[in-house]
């Protein structure tokens, strides 16, 4: 018999059991995992290269050769979607690591633990960043940074006598990564900080301190485990926003540059960075719908997973 008494279960087991009860959440985890695996294994899965054109077969409807048809340059849409997902995977994971984990968690822990001047500076900086209209700030940052960063990379290539750095597309990811930074860190940081505030003076932290534990040990052993739950929740909600922002940036031609693939760039390809792409929807729906359905599922699933996590991890409810 499986023992389902919550008292005898580890926190992780309990979490897994609670989560498995959220059917929609589980479905979404599976869907998101599939999308991410597709992105990671894009080189193996994509039947064609993302930039491979076939001018003899443009705008063709789906057939056996091109399962989702081809775009106006005769590029295989399925392959472009798969490679585009890879871009989303890279951007969201970078966003997660830099924004949520490094800046959000790190600054949140420090500000919450040390308070004082450090806390003041971090909080005011955060308020400053969040008082910008976010889409506008992202667009502005991306537009301003790209030429500078491109120039920097060219000079690095020249000085080190290497090539391929610029053409590898690393600039796109760097620009997107920096432009999206303001979006993700402050929410996480504020939450972690509040959590640290509430536990920095509880008995076991106090006793660890009096028994001579180092600050590092107190933070990593006693405080960190308590902030994991809120971190996971905000990070999950943040991922959807990061993915969508990359799509928007690339749609406006400020993110991933052609011919490299991005779901947003595919959208702007069919709609010409303006007009509402109605003719595409009537004549070649697969060109518009393929990237859109992936985006739609991804945003939907991140929200559902975030909701499920909030439900389970919310300390007020337990």
């Amino acid at each position: 018999m499986m023992d389902l008494n919550p008292k005898n279960l580890s926190a992780t087991r309990l979490f897994m059991i609670n989560f498995s009860r959220k059917k929609l959440g589980v479905i979404c985890v599976i869907l998101v995992s599939i999308i991410y695996l597709v992105g990671i294994f894009a080189p193996l899965l994509a039947p064609y290269d993302y930039s491979e054109t076939n001018l003899l077969k443009t705008q063709s409807p789906p057939d056996m050769e091109n399962l989702l048809g081809t775009d106006r340059l005769g590029r295989d849409i399925l392959s472009r979607v798969i490679w585009g997902i890879q871009t989303t995977v890279i951007v969201t994971i970078t966003g997660l690591l830099t924004g949520s984990l490094i800046l959000g968690l790190f600054l949140g822990l420090l500000a919450g633990y040390y308070r004082g001047l450090f806390d003041f500076v971090v909080m005011r900086t955060g308020e400053l960043v969040s008082s910008f209209p976010d889409i506008l700030l992202i667009i502005l940052l991306a537009a301003t940074l790209r030429p500078r960063i491109t120039k920097m990379f060219y000079s690095i290539e020249d000085n080190l006598n290497i090539s391929g750095l610029v053409s590898s597309g690393i600039i796109d990811y760097l620009v997107i990564g920096i432009a999206l930074l303001p979006l993700s860190w402050f929410g996480t940081m504020r939450l972690i900080r509040a959590q640290v505030f509430s536990i920095r003076n509880v008995d076991y932290v106090q006793s660890a301190r009096t028994s001579g534990a180092s600050t590092l040990r107190i933070v990593t052993r006693h405080i960190l485990p308590n902030v994991i739950a809120p971190l996971v929740v905000t990070a999950t909600f943040g991922l959807g926003a990061v993915a969508l922002s990359e799509v928007i940036l690339s749609f406006f031609g400020l993110g991933v540059q052609p011919p490299r693939p991005s779901l947003g760039a595919m959208l702007s390809d069919v709609s010409g960075r303006g007009g509402a792409s109605v003719s595409v929807l009537t004549n070649h729906p697969e060109q518009l719908l393929s990237p859109i359905i992936v985006i739609w599922i991804m945003i939907f699933c991140w929200n559902i997973i975030g909701d499920a996590l909030t439900d389970i991890l919310n300390p007020r409810k337990n």
Binding site: F132, P133, T144, G275
Partner: protein
């Protein structure tokens, strides 16, 4: 309380000053030369130098920034680089009005759809109807506007021929309907979730239970006791929508060809028309900051239990 509001009001101009500093820095650091933008093909060294001197571009950046702030504080954002001899404020005001109209109508649509659905879901909490409403609202919430816009145009403009596909004619023109719905749909989904969760919370409180126990009719319980209290979170979203006047409708404005702030912000970023960009960012930030202050203030008015600190 008063002290808190006072502190926030003092902090506001400091915040905006720093916003302007950052944008100004981005303008200086960013690529391109404003004179090149302004002169276009007529660029020659001599006239460039003359204009540079006249515009004070040879001064130290800090001086330039201070000069800019001094003028901006009284509403003078300078002249556009791209549109010759046009004041930025004169350029922006009509666009702002267009965006404001669009967003207010979207907001009304979002409330009109979202509130009853959220209420419905909360009242039917525990039956299958609740999760159905919730899941549908999440599906609509995640629907990319890149899809909503062409889809609505296809159905309502081309198939049913009820409204024109794109363009702008003000609030009482049929052309506002589709873009307003496009913005309103995700907004409505937000209201559904907000009102649902806060209704469920309120329905579980002691005073609602007491009202039911003493035999108040169900209708009266729902409307008088529960609904009023559940409307509290709507106040927050109202503020965000107000601030969203700038960011939120950007893409939709472009998809529908609406001459609002969205179009001009993007164009000015592309053409590096910095006076325009700076004015938009400054106005947008001011709106956000003021909105946040109002929300906090309204919160304490609506619910005296909340104390500001």
């Amino acid at each position: 309380m008063l002290k808190y509001i006072f502190k926030r009001i003092i902090w506001m101009p400091v915040l905006l000053l720093m916003v302007s500093l950052i944008v100004f820095f981005l303008g200086v650091y960013g690529p391109g030369d404003p004179i090149e933008v302004q002169l276009g093909n007529n660029y020659d060294q001599e006239s460039a130098d003359r204009i540079r001197e006249k515009m004070g571009l040879n001064d130290p950046v800090v001086i330039q920034w201070l000069n800019y702030v001094r003028k901006a504080a009284v509403g003078d954002f300078g002249e556009s680089y791209v549109f010759k001899n046009r004041e930025v404020s004169e350029l922006l005001i009509p666009k702002l009005i267009v965006s404001a109209k669009l967003n207010i109508i979207s907001f009304v649509i979002a409330i009109a759809i979202g509130t009853p659905l959220g209420f419905y879901a909360a009242v039917h909490n525990g039956t299958v109807r609740d999760p159905i409403v919730v899941i549908f609202s999440l599906v609509f919430y995640a629907m990319p506007v890149f899809f909503t816009a062409p889809f609505l145009i296809l159905i309502f403009a081309l198939q049913l021929d009820l409204v024109p596909a794109a363009g702008w004619g003000g609030v009482f023109d049929k052309r506002i309907i589709l873009p307003a719905i496009t913005i309103g749909i995700p907004g409505a989904a937000v209201f559904v979730r907000l009102i649902r969760s806060s209704m469920i919370e309120v329905l579980d409180t002691d005073y609602v239970k007491l009202a039911r126990a003493k035999g108040v009719s169900e209708n009266k319980v729902l409307w008088k006791h529960a609904f009023r209290n559940a409307m509290l979170p709507v106040v927050t979203i109202m503020g965000f929508s107000l601030a969203g006047l700038f960011g939120g409708s950007l893409i939709v404005e472009i998809l529908f060809g609406i001459p609002g702030v969205g179009r001009i912000s993007l164009d000015s970023v592309y053409s590096r028309d910095y006076p325009v960009i700076m004015a938009i960012v400054l106005l947008g930030s001011s709106a956000l900051v003021v909105a946040n202050l109002i929300i906090d203030f309204l919160y304490t008015l609506v619910d005296p239990r909340i104390e500001l600190q």
